[in-house]
């Protein structure tokens, strides 16, 4: 009896609750500090929105500019007060479309080969090639586009039909640039499909091609869709290749053989000079950047949404 009572008192003195209640100032301070640091990343996004929004607002409030003109007109000539974003959007769309047309079939094929066909040794040789391609700075791709691809195209198509600066060359090289991105994201998606699905397909007598395209590919479709959208967002935001290879004239055209300036290239060219702060031209750059930010943000959110919404769960 006595022993049991003693046991009880011991238990009460060592109640973990007391330990828990102890306030450790240092610990709390560290946790608070780390939270602030984590919160700083949100502050970055907020300041992007505020900075771009604020200057873009100044631009739209300018008497020279109307919203209707900005979103409807196809002429962008700041010198005479013409601000129609379509002149720049057309070039962005054209170069990105070419890039996607190059990168999606190639990137997807490469991913299928690496994940479904390649032996361990082949992967060890082939994967680093894609990783090197992904690590090359975009300015080097710009050099490649202007001094290798463009002369090659001029030889093939005829120099009277295609200029020194053209959207085709920039788009093709941009496609090579985003190829590794699309292939590595797609490969992750394909590798995540459980082997039992492949084995089931083979057991039914499917060929490797039938197994990969009719069983594995549909199962990985959400991941591949996300990869394509991230690829589009990267192409839209890419600056250096188009700044070097696709010319410096803002023109409304979808003809890939012509020179035209994309949104990003325009920002780079104009801000590269000594533009006085607070002018309409200067503020117009922020309006373009805001458009870019919103478009790429929307694309990235859609891509994440696709992954979570349409992911096939095999567990």
């Amino acid at each position: 009896m006595q022993a049991a009572a003693k046991q009880e008192t011991v238990n009460t003195t060592f109640r973990p609750k007391i330990l828990k209640r102890k306030l450790r100032l240092g610990e709390s301070a560290i946790e608070a500090g780390l939270f602030i640091v984590g919160f700083l990343t949100i502050f970055v996004t907020v300041s992007i929105v505020i900075v771009l929004g604020d200057q873009a607002l100044l631009f739209f409030l300018d008497p020279e500019v109307t919203l209707a003109e900005f979103f409807m007109s196809t002429k962008w000539v700041p010198a005479i007060g013409e601000f129609g974003i379509w002149a720049l959007v057309s070039a962005t769309l054209t170069t990105s479309a070419i890039a996607i047309l190059v990168a999606v079939p190639l990137g997807l094929s490469a991913a299928i080969y690496l994940s479904e066909y390649a032996s361990h040794r082949a992967r060890a040789v082939l994967k680093p090639v894609l990783e090197i391609l992904a690590g090359i700075p975009t300015v080097v791709y710009g050099y490649f586009a202007l001094l290798f691809v463009t002369p090659l195209l001029r030889e093939l198509i005829g120099s009277e039909r295609i200029g020194v600066y053209n959207m085709l060359s920039a788009g093709l090289v941009m496609g090579i640039m985003i190829l590794p991105l699309i292939s590595s994201m797609s490969e992750d998606a394909l590798s995540a499909v459980p082997n039992s699905l492949r084995e089931a397909a083979y057991a039914m007598g499917a060929t490797p091609f039938e197994a990969s395209t009719q069983v594995v590919l549909p199962a990985a479709l959400s991941g591949i869709g996300a990869a394509v959208i991230v690829g589009i967002s990267r192409a839209v935001g890419e600056t250096m290749i188009v700044a070097i290879a696709s010319g410096a004239t803002s023109e409304f055209t979808f003809n890939p053989l012509k020179a035209a300036e994309t949104m990003t290239a325009h920002i780079a060219r104009i801000s590269g000079g000594d533009l006085p702060y607070g002018t309409v031209d200067y503020n117009s750059l922020f309006a373009i950047a805001l458009m870019l930010f919103l478009v790429t943000l929307a694309l990235n959110i859609v891509s994440q949404w696709i992954v979570t919404k349409f992911r096939e769960q095999y567990e």
């Binding site: 990343t41 690496l114 590269g272 950047a289 930010f293």
Partner: protein, 411 residues
């Protein structure tokens, strides 16, 4: 009931063979996508090497033999000054003397001055490497016909001198010294900002944050989204915040430096730091996630507080992963161009950066500037600068891989 009709034995065999042939053709097609990638990569690298070396046809405005009897390389300092005095106009000579007294300059500098101001090498035509190697006689004939007075010389545009000489408006004398130093400063500032902030955020998200809380989910989504923001947008952010709003700090005016505006290394470094921040956070999170829970539980088991367990157990184990991630972030920072154009990299900087509050240029900016010029000799030095940049990146990435292989632990 549906009745299936099955093909006869022969038809079946043919059908299966056809399906396997299709499969085989497609396999080749898939493989060819990778081959295209390999071909593109080789074309890119060969194109750069092709541009960086090769024959150059050049001409002197004044033949070196006419200005001195001995070869220029063998002249003493006094003789070099005498040559300058004899061949330059009085005004030009006095101007040079005023900048830095000639007697105080080194022999190398005087030699360069003579080459630049008196002999005035003029590059007439540059030839790429592969043509130089395989069509040497054709090039010689062409040069003899087009430029009778020209000399033909094989030149490696990438040379030790290219690394150690500062910018010049003449491609023949230009180097990447200032750009290289600028890149180093830039990466240093960027990582000094991004590493503590990024690792702190990663620790918070992995070790402290309650996954279900709204705020923490927003932080996580936000970091993933920041990683996808185009780099040029970061440039606009840097322009508005660091270059303009914080000009007093980034121009160094706070510290008594008055000869600059906000377009300094500091602004560029901080902009780049913000750009690589999401990358550092995501990599650090992966590294921390890879440390098994048993380590934390063991620390708690012997009475460690949360921070003690993180500081003494989780972080040391995650360190190789964090370092690898930071090096990858640095190699991203070193190749990034677009935001720096916007923050305002100077294109012509001949003085080494001495502090974070100076005007700056970096390697990718030089490559961009030189590529955009129409003259071939500038394309040649752009190619040489690209080789320097790629070698730098290769060193960074190789270090990262070595670190990973050396310290990576499997649990």
């Amino acid at each position: 009931m549906i009745k299936y009709t099955y093909p006869e034995q022969q038809d079946l065999e043919r059908f299966v063979a056809l399906r396997y042939r299709t499969a085989w053709i497609w396999q080749l097609l898939f493989l060819s996508a990778l081959l295209i990638a390999i071909v593109s990569l080789s074309a890119l690298l060969l194109n750069v090497v092709d541009g960086a070396f090769g024959y150059v046809a050049y001409e002197f405005k004044k033949d070196p033999l006419t200005i001195s009897e001995k070869p220029l390389e063998e002249l003493s300092k006094d003789e070099l000054i005498a040559v300058l005095q004899a061949n330059l106009s009085r005004g030009a000579y006095n101007k040079l003397e005023k900048e830095t007294p000639l007697a105080a300059r080194s022999e190398g500098e005087l030699y360069n001055l003579i080459i630049e101001r008196i002999i005035q090498i003029k590059t007439l035509e540059t030839y790429p490497l592969f043509r130089s190697l395989f069509e040497k006689s054709a090039i010689e004939a062409e040069v003899r016909e087009k430029y009778p007075n020209a000399r033909l010389e094989f030149r490696s545009w990438l040379s030790p001198a290219f690394l150690t000489t500062p910018m010049s408006s003449r491609a023949e004398f230009a180097g990447v010294r200032t750009a290289l130093l600028g890149s180093m400063w830039l990466v240093g500032i960027a990582i000094a900002f991004a590493l503590p902030v990024g690792v702190g955020a990663a620790i918070y998200l992995q070790e402290y944050a309650d996954r279900k809380s709204m705020v923490n989910r927003i932080i996580q989504t936000n970091i993933n989204n920041l990683a996808g923001v185009p780099s040029i947008v970061y440039g606009m952010l840097g322009l508005a915040i660091f270059v303009r709003a914080m000009e007093a700090f980034t121009s160094g005016a706070m510290f008594g430096i008055t000869d600059t505006n906000g377009r300094t290394l500091m602004s560029a470094g901080l902009t780049m730091g913000i750009l690589v921040l999401p990358l550092v956070v995501i990599n650090a999170q992966e590294a921390i996630k890879a440390v098994p829970d048993s380590i934390r539980q063991a620390a708690f088991g012997v009475g460690a507080t949360r921070w003690q367990s993180i500081w003494s157990h989780v972080l040391p184990n995650a360190l190789p992963g964090i370092l690898t991630g930071s090096i990858l972030a640095m190699s991203r920072a070193i190749g990034e161009t677009a935001p720096l154009i916007i923050v305002g990299a100077s294109t012509f900087v001949t003085v080494d950066p001495q502090s974070p509050f100076t005007k700056f240029t970096v390697l990718p900016i030089q490559i961009y500037q030189w590529t955009a010029r129409p003259q071939d000799e500038f394309h040649a030095i752009a190619a040489a600068a690209i080789i320097v940049l790629l070698v730098l990146l290769l060193t960074f990435n190789a270090t990262a891989i070595l670190l990973r292989n050396r310290f990576q632990r499997r649990w």
